[in-house]
Amino acid sequence: MANIISDETIEYVGILAKLELNEEEKERAKKDMGEMLDYIDKLNELDTAGIEPMSHVFPVQNVFREDVVTNGDGSEETLRNAPEEKDGGFKVPKTIG
């Protein structure tokens, strides 16, 4: 079974992935994704009816703690990595018109 990836699908996945692909990259992505999905379709040979999806191999529980700051105020150091900062915050382009 060959998976044909449409232009619309690649557009849509690009939106989900927040990636802007040029025409050449789009064509490549269509081909790559189609081939990968053909390969992944091998899983359909397996009967997995009644099998619980296993997200973790060991039983995991939420780890809770009191909301108390223990590592001090690292805001200055953290902001040093920001591409742009202003008044102690991350600066981004205008989000509301």
Partner: protein
């Protein structure tokens, strides 16, 4: 003879006995790096000044009796996906080209507490996505056994640095084989511990349910010693396990009498290089001669591990890598219209082709309408694979096989055909899906002089079984130094 041709534990002993100062050891490592980096390119960042300063501090702590452990003063290289406070941490990506973390990964912190001196950060496939270290934004690493070949990946820089003797040992991370496969290609030893053994805090996430940090070194003794040092229960990692039986060095015993070793027939079929097969089966024979009970069995489901892995790992990656958007750290595109345009352009310019490929696939398999068919199907397959291993470990203490189907391929041969590259991980990937510990150690060379790796897999929390079997096998052969080491 260079101090870097010693094992980490041997060097630690010399430092402790005051035969060598920490500064001498660190200086030798830095000089070796300077001499060899033009050829091997194992490092993204070298911190000469920081390492020499730290060497003096550690020396004082050894002299006043504060540091007494086996790794005190021994120089280490860290894979560039582990955060190191104030030291560049790029994940070998353009998108983190200038990122200096404000904290240190827990595993690295544990090593520092044991007196390790960090030399720098090693090259890797971008965001650990690859099997050759060729997807690094900072250029490929070369195999110290033959520079025309890849070192494997994604921890290719760490394994090459150990093989080239630019450091005493290194840390790597393993999501689908990224410690074991490059260890095999570079002729060094590496352990991927049971999931949850080593804290992932400060490890830049790729596939969070699969990622584990582990040691890479010249021998099993080093690996067990390092693993003991980095293992800890950490509340900052919600999947960290408060486990027992972590005195791994107590398993360094040359005795496998009565140990049950299973060889999966499915690991020796089509696609396995005949020289690799021969070397691995010869290793099994050695263990049998030492009293182990070795038999073949059908593991089953081996061919489903890779497709299940790519669905799960890419899905998790698409979510984990959403944080790289040009707001908080790293690269931001120069020209943009609005916020969303800024995100998209930053990510498109900042990520390389393989990373984009995996984020796209991951976004697709998680998207509405495909989630059940792909993502949940993969998680169900994972449950079946785990069960197949549970069955196997009800009969065997250790599973033995190759770490990779071939020895190291030539540079440039793998990236053109992703599926072919992914197939190279067939023997390592299922171990991550099932959360098991695995070790790769050298067991011979092919006719071109490239190393072959033996993989031993244990049941969850049974590192000691694989360490014991690996140690016993190791006693039957000598460590072979690569041509890029100083020992000729």
């Amino acid at each position: 003879m260079s101090l870097m041709s010693l094992t980490a534990v041997e060097l630690g002993k010399k430092i402790k006995a005051k035969e060598v100062t920490v500064k001498e050891a660190v200086t030798e490592a830095l000089d070796a790096i300077e001499k060899k980096e033009g050829t091997v390119n194992s490092f993204v960042t070298i911190d000469r000044e920081g390492a020499l300063k730290r060497a003096e501090e550690v020396q004082k702590l050894i002299d006043d009796g504060t540091l007494t452990g086996p790794l005190a003063g021994v120089p280490v290289a860290i894979k560039d996906n582990m955060c190191t406070e104030g030291m560049l941490t790029t994940c070998s990506s353009k998108i983190l080209y200038n990122f200096k973390p404000t904290y240190t990964a827990e595993a690295v912190k544990n090593l520092e507490d044991a007196g390790a001196v960090i030399l720098g950060k090693t090259n890797m496939d971008e965001f650990a996505m690859g099997s050759t270290t060729e997807t690094s934004y900072y250029g490929p690493t070369k195999n110290p056994w033959n520079e025309a070949h890849v070192p494997g990946g994604s921890s290719g820089g760490s394994c090459a640095a150990v093989a080239a003797e630019e450091c005493s040992y290194a840390l790597g991370s393993d999501t689908g084989g990224s410690i074991r496969q490059p260890s095999s290609f570079c002729g060094v030893t590496g352990i991927k511990p049971t999931y949850g053994t080593v804290s992932r805090y400060g490890l830049i996430a790729y596939g969070s349910s699969l990622d584990q940090i582990g040691p890479i070194a010249k021998d099993v003794t080093d690996c067990a010693t390092i693993l003991e040092a980095i293992t800890s229960y950490d509340k900052k990692d919600s999947t960290s396990i408060d486990r027992e039986d972590t005195d791994f060095t107590s398993a360094l015993v040359d005795d496998v009498k009565g140990m049950k070793i299973g060889i999966p027939k499915d690991y020796f079929g089509e696609g396995l290089d005949s020289e690799v097969k021969e070397a691995v089966l010869a290793a099994a024979k050695k263990l049998e001669e030492k009293g182990a009970i070795v038999e073949e069995f059908d593991l089953s489901l081996v061919e489903y591990a890779i497709p299940a892995y790519y669905v799960i790992a890419c899905a998790e990656a698409s979510s984990n890598l959403a944080r790289f958007d040009g707001v908080k750290y790293g690269y931001r595109t120069e020209q943009y219209d609005d916020l969303h345009n800024m995100y998209k352009k930053t990510r498109s310019e900042g990520f390389g082709a393989e990373v984009k490929r995996r984020i796209m696939l991951g976004s697709f398999v998680l998207s509405s309408g495909y989630y059940d068919a792909y993502y949940l199907k993969a998680l169900r397959t994972k449950a079946l694979i785990k069960k197949a291993f549970d069955d196997a470990f009800s009969r065997y203490d250790v599973i033995l096989g190759p770490a990779a189907p071939t020895t190291a391929p030539k540079l440039g041969e793998s990236l053109s055909d992703p599926i072919k590259m992914y197939l190279g991980d067939i023997y390592t990937i299922s171990v991550n899906l099932a959360g098991l510990p695995g070790i790769s150690l050298p067991c011979g060379k092919d006719k071109n002089g490239l190393p072959v790796g033996l993989q031993l897999i244990g049941d969850c929390f049974k590192e000691k079984n694989i360490i014991r079997a690996a140690y016993a096998f190791e006693q039957t052969r000598n460590y072979e130094h690569s041509p890029l080491s100083d020992v000729k």
